[in-house]
Subunit: 345 residues, 3 copies
């Protein structure tokens, strides 16, 4: 995984200004560039780093005019940002691997066929009557139950568990050990103090371009579907209860949890370890701080919420600021009481 | 998975009032009924929905007398609630599958025998000298270590990890990727700043009718046993530390965590993301709010606790209500100070 | 797994005072000793338990002089603490098993060789071009990607997922279902409200003597490495974001989460469910309470932090104490207002 500046310039259709035989083995940010790495300069804000960077080569726009001396080699291209992105993707393919084919032993249930150009890792298990799209990768030890649909280009990493009847769109990614479609937490109390299990008969529907983090868990619906709309990104260890719906392009950071039947709107941004009560609605564009506890439905779109129970951010910050000075406030009240008492005498 | 109203009425021993050839492919709540679904009416509170529901059929009590016109087909039975439950269970068996037999390749260690009527999924692993009861299901990729006992009717889903010497009762369910019996977090600090690992030599004992959520983790005891009593229900991603004991019929919502050696009483209800310090006791019937942090032992049974550090719910709510108005309280104090100052002049 | 007192005394080179033929089948703490168990007495604080313990035998220092009657059998050794630790380790080996050899079916990719004296469980998967040290144990269903290095004596439990290019030191332990090196949570918002995935091209580097809990997740770096220094202990379900660095000998309790690019210093002690914002620095020796939310960089070493947003412990406790009495404080302010009003008249 080592290339010369010349090889990279050739790949990008760029012109070299400097040493063409330098060896490049990694990518770097220009401000963190080290010898043997290639970086790029697009945003003028970062130009000063060009004159000090240790990166062996820097990709710049054709039009770039340096204002000082520098020691790195330049590769001039039409758009340095686009060229670097292209390089990133090539590099990613090398780093992450591009697995294809069917490793043995693996298990395919009756009535299940893989689409064109599959990867099925060793010890992967796909149940009966599944419909698997083209270019789907199913890594070793992944489990796919019965009657599951998986759209084209979706990637199921090692140890992911997908229960029966789950429906998954195109170009989704499930990171290792995520669990999709296990039973919702539904128990009805009985007079003797024990609980009766409420059958969980629904499924999970995941639309296109969704990313699910490592160890995240999404429960199936009691009836109907738990729904994750297109473009949603869930981080590691996020918990999604039964019958929840998450609106499109909402991103949820690690270890957040959403209790049953709650609806999260589109384009929300949810911080890590945040929690949501069940049966509430959070509208479009809501921002929720880390560790916040959202306990009720909010009507207005685009609010920032914070704290437990969650308040609007500005209220929460004001209260928190005084919380820090509570001992002082108490002292001030004590002082007033003393004065009042003295005044009486 | 499509039935006619006539077939379903036959199954339930009910009488049809309306179209007997309608096709039914799913179950629904009466207030969410859609064409092609069957619902039920038991609680009179829901009667108004009968007159508007889109459900193709509704199961009602024999004695039910409608007060308005409706367009759905009725199936009259002795008890509509019981009949619907029966239908739910049938449907569940179809949806969830009823796996039997031994798929290959799978692994059974020396001295281990499966009980009658087993399911052992492909790539499942059961170690040496295990005692596995009747009607136990062990799904693909489940791991069962050595010297493990599993009672009749227990179900171990895909990717569950059960360490050596664990003892599990009857009719328990372990959802995907739960981990039972990994080492407790025990490290003794040494003078040089490093830590020495304290051997974790105990096990986990799980009694009958316990349900453990996806990705939940239960540590083995340092010595003795971590104990989960009968009827306990743990939701996804719950963490149970070493030497913890959870009393019977206690339910714990997702992402809650219990530190080592803490005892939780019977019939407690614990909210999501709640946390418990180690070495404390929480008595019978305690209710703990979501995200609460229980930091000390409580003596009185049946309390509701909330907040961090947890207070009794009524105290916590009162304080939280004023917390929200802290800026106003500060202003009031400021106003008093101003008045006092003016009075002096 | 039953030994006589005589056998144990022989193993420890100790002298028996009492019954040498008693059967011992487990270890116990002296205050919890039951018949059939062996315990030890080292700290004089526990001496009273010697006179009441039900343990069949107790290991004591040679020099120990009892002050009362007792019914247990003594084994006298040079150092009772050392002898008991020795016994613990022997017992651990029996309890936990000492797996060796290669079970089938298992999978080894091209260019990968196992070091001397390996354990490779059935259904374990190791990708291409990995370097695996001596005495490494890889349990059933563990997944090791391509180009992974694992140092001597490291143990990978069942269901652990180690992504490509991870570098792991010696004598580390990964408990079941931990995930190392999955993609960091990096998405760039686009004008249409969707997100573009930022390629995550770095890896995870884990130094020697690290312990990673069950279900914990550690993301790979965007570029460069997420680094876990030597001696770090992470409990179950801990989340470590991309480009985080955790200093040596830091211990982090269950369900804590660290957002991307944050640096945690050496010898910190972090409580369960604590959360850390991204891009902050926490210095050496910091103690962080359970459920705390650390939102900013702290400069001073050795502080204790608590609450959300985290304050110094003493400030946090003072404010929390008044928080509990907020209704009273509000009443006192109200009283003052009333008095002022009356005074005006």
């Amino acid at each position: 995984m080592e290339f010369t500046v010349k090889q990279i310039a050739g790949l990008l259709g760029g012109e070299i200004e400097g040493e063409e035989n330098l060896k490049i083995s990694q990518l770097s940010k220009i401000e963190e560039g080290i010898s043997g790495s290639i970086s790029f300069l697009s945003n003028p804000k970062y130009e000063p780093y060009l004159y000090t960077t240790e990166a062996s080569a820097v990709i710049v726009d054709k039009s770039f005019e340096p204002k000082k001396a520098f020691k790195t080699t330049l590769i001039r291209v039409e758009s340095s940002y686009t060229a670097f992105t292209q390089l990133l993707q090539q590099y990613e393919r090398i780093i992450k691997g591009d697995k294809r084919g069917i490793e043995q032993p693996s298990y395919l249930g009756q009535g299940t066929e893989l689409g064109e150009n599959p990867y099925l890792g060793a010890f992967a298990y796909v149940g009966t009557n599944c419909k698997i799209g083209k270019n789907v990768k199913i890594y070793p030890h992944a489990y796919v139950g019965d009657n599951v649909k998986i759209g084209d280009g979706t990637v199921i990493h090692s140890g992911v568990r997908i229960y029966n009847n789950t429906i998954i769109g195109q170009n989704c990614t499930f990171f290792a050990n995520a669990v999709i479609g296990s039973d919702g937490f539904g128990f009805a109390p009985l007079p003797d103090g024990t609980y009766k299990t409420i059958p969980q008969l629904g499924n999970v529907v995941i639309e296109d371009n969704v990313s699910i983090g490592a160890g995240a868990t999404i429960d199936c619906a009691t009836m109907g579907s738990t729904v994750i709309r297109q473009g949603v990104k869930l981080d590691n260890l996020v918990q999604v209860g039964h019958n929840v719906e998450i609106g499109k392009n909402t991103v949820i950071a690690a270890q957040a949890g959403i209790a049953g039947s709650t609806k999260i709107g589109e384009n929300c941004v949810i911080g890590g370890q945040a929690g949501f009560n069940g049966h509430i609605t959070v509208p479009k564009g809501t921002k929720v701080g880390g560790q916040a506890g959202v306990t009720r439905t909010w009507e207005e779109e685009g609010l920032s919420l914070n704290g437990t129970p969650a308040l609007e951010l500005k209220d929460s910050l004001r209260s928190a600021a005084i919380f820090r000075k509570l001992p002082l406030l108490e002292k001030r009240v004590h002082e007033l009481e003393k004065q009042n008492k003295e005044d009486k005498h």
